[in-house]
Assembly symmetry: C2
Homo-oligomer: 123 residues x 2
DNA sequence: CTTGACCCTCACACCAATGTCACAGTTTAT
DNA sequence: ATAAACTGTGACATTGGTGTGAGGGTCAAG
């Protein structure tokens, strides 16, 4: 199938499909006219890529194990676990930061509301 | 004081001080030679800016209320509360997203480890 | 007067996936 | 045959605070 069809089937923009190829995640054949020809498996492959992207992995990380996970169980691919663990640590750190900002904001919002209330009563 | 001193006192890079000015957060006087002259209050002002930035606010948001909070109690400045609330909502959303990724990663890590273990026992 | 330490402005780089043009060739349908 | 619908490459924009460097004034101490 050609790129437009793959895009329609997978819901991923043509731009992104070309980008994935540039990053080594897809390797469609080429027709003599230069058009990309994707195998029927490409659709699932694209969904797999999208899934890993949704976990916050970069195309570079994905490219390091995609060839393996497409042919095997994920658990079989040694490269995956350390990347997951590293990503989990990053996520954890980001959550910590956001939680601390959240507390800070909540405190200050509460303070402002309290302040307003006491000023209202005061009068 | 000149920019180098303010930078040293506040711990904020010269580059950032100039950027804050460009964004309307600081308005130092200028000497005839073009050098910026900061008042002694600038140090606290810069710390205030840094604090709001650490809450994840943009310079644009900060500029909308900085003039007020520098002269009044924060609770007095009407512009602050809606910005805090909006920011809190964003943070909340981001945390939700990260938490869902985190669960996903944890599940998959657990699965991989389980898989390895059962394969080990199997043999 | 010269050296070194400041200061100035302007501008590109960054991070990374995606959107969006511009411009051009190909195929398909009318 | 011509227009519409695809496809190709290339390149810039996005986000926003900060780093960094070029190229050039200013000033104080030796």
């Amino acid at each position: 199938m050609k790129i437009g069809e793959l895009s329609a089937r997978s819901g991923v923009s043509i731009r992104s499909l070309r980008y994935y190829e540039e990053q080594g995640l897809l390797s469609p054949l080429r027709h003599q006219n230069g058009y990309r020809e994707y195998s029927p498996f490409a659709e699932e492959q694209v969904r797999t890529i999208q899934f890993y992207l949704s976990l916050g992995l970069t195309t570079q990380q994905i490219s390091s194990f995609l060839h393996c996970v497409l042919k095997n169980e994920e658990a079989f691919c040694q490269e995956v676990l350390p990347i997951y663990q590293q990503k989990l640590a990053e996520i954890h750190e980001q959550i910590q930061l956001l939680e601390s900002i959240k507390s800070n904001l909540e405190d200050r919002i509460r303070f402002i509301l309290d302040e307003r209330e006491s000023n209202t009563k005061e009068k």
